[in-house]
Symmetry: C2
Subunit: 212 residues, 2 copies
Amino acid sequence: MNITFLFYNGMTALDAIGPHEILSRLPGATVQRVALSAGKITTCSGLLLNADYALSEVTQSDVLVIPGGGKASSLSDYPEILDWIRLIHSKTTWTTSVCTGSLILGAAGILAGKKATTHWAVMDRLSRWGAEPVQERLVQSGKIITSAGVSAGIDMALTLAAKISGETVAKSLQLALEYDPEPPFDSGSPKKADPILLENLRKKMLAVFDNN
Amino acid sequence: MNITFLFYNGMTALDAIGPHEILSRLPGATVQRVALSAGKITTCSGLLLNADYALSEVTQSDVLVIPGGGKASSLSDYPEILDWIRLIHSKTTWTTSVCTGSLILGAAGILAGKKATTHWAVMDRLSRWGAEPVQERLVQSGKIITSAGVSAGIDMALTLAAKISGETVAKSLQLALEYDPEPPFDSGSPKKADPILLENLRKKMLAVFDNN
């Protein structure tokens, strides 16, 4: 089973690394990290990742994971990336996204008419691509699973792990990663956060997102 | 404010990237990633990270983060790493670890007589270094904060973010990362997991840990 992560400059590292830590441990999984060119990728926090392959070297995958990031919308400027996503998606068993990665799937045209989710701050952008925005932790639409902002990729990957390898494997991975969250605050979703904090952050994030 | 992550071959990427995604966004933070030698680091899932500096190039930091990994115990074979940890710790405001990173702090001799935590599967190993094992999500002992397995680094980093930059900043970061966890199963801690699954995983993880 091939699992392929799309990497790109400006991506959010945790969007990819959460699912990567889970999916790479599935029995029989081979994971590959792919970008426009092989080599160093600069994530939005300055951390460098590494892509093993250029897009042209990978022509199929059983699972595709598209992470998000402040620069996700700029990927619309790279038709070769969108073409590649369409090609891989045509052969996948599961096509998935984390955070604003769903806007890349949208730009590739594969969310039209489908329910999907993304980071809360840019939820309305999904409708630009004909998708129906749903504010949930993750949304399955056929073989496509989109998930909410950044950390939601962990929940998405555990859900996907159970679909691929069964609940026992998924539960064992949850225990291996000791994923028994105890957030010190209850400010992790727009429904729960302080309204002023929410609006300040929304403005700040949209300013970043729309300038990329 | 300098925040320094120790990187090493065999580390678990998520141990570092969870806190990195949070702490790198603190106001005024400068983050550096340091290893025995600058350059590529192979994590336990095959993903490559990059260290910006060699240990010898970094002599102080306000915050130190030590991630864990199956090869954490092998770092005892590198006295230069333990010396460096002691040097940096002597000047930090906060010294922290995720998962088996606390066993590296232990090997460096800085947990003797202190309460600490680590991944549940190796909890008893803390006493080898004179620490008092505590099965909690995170344990603060003076300026040292140790946290439980892998994903616990996210909770630790949000707690630390509040201590450094205040609760409003920490809550805003929680919202930015949409950290409102919804694990699909309730199998994330030894208290909650199925006993047979727990024992099978314990044996498997100890076999990996003790062979490194």
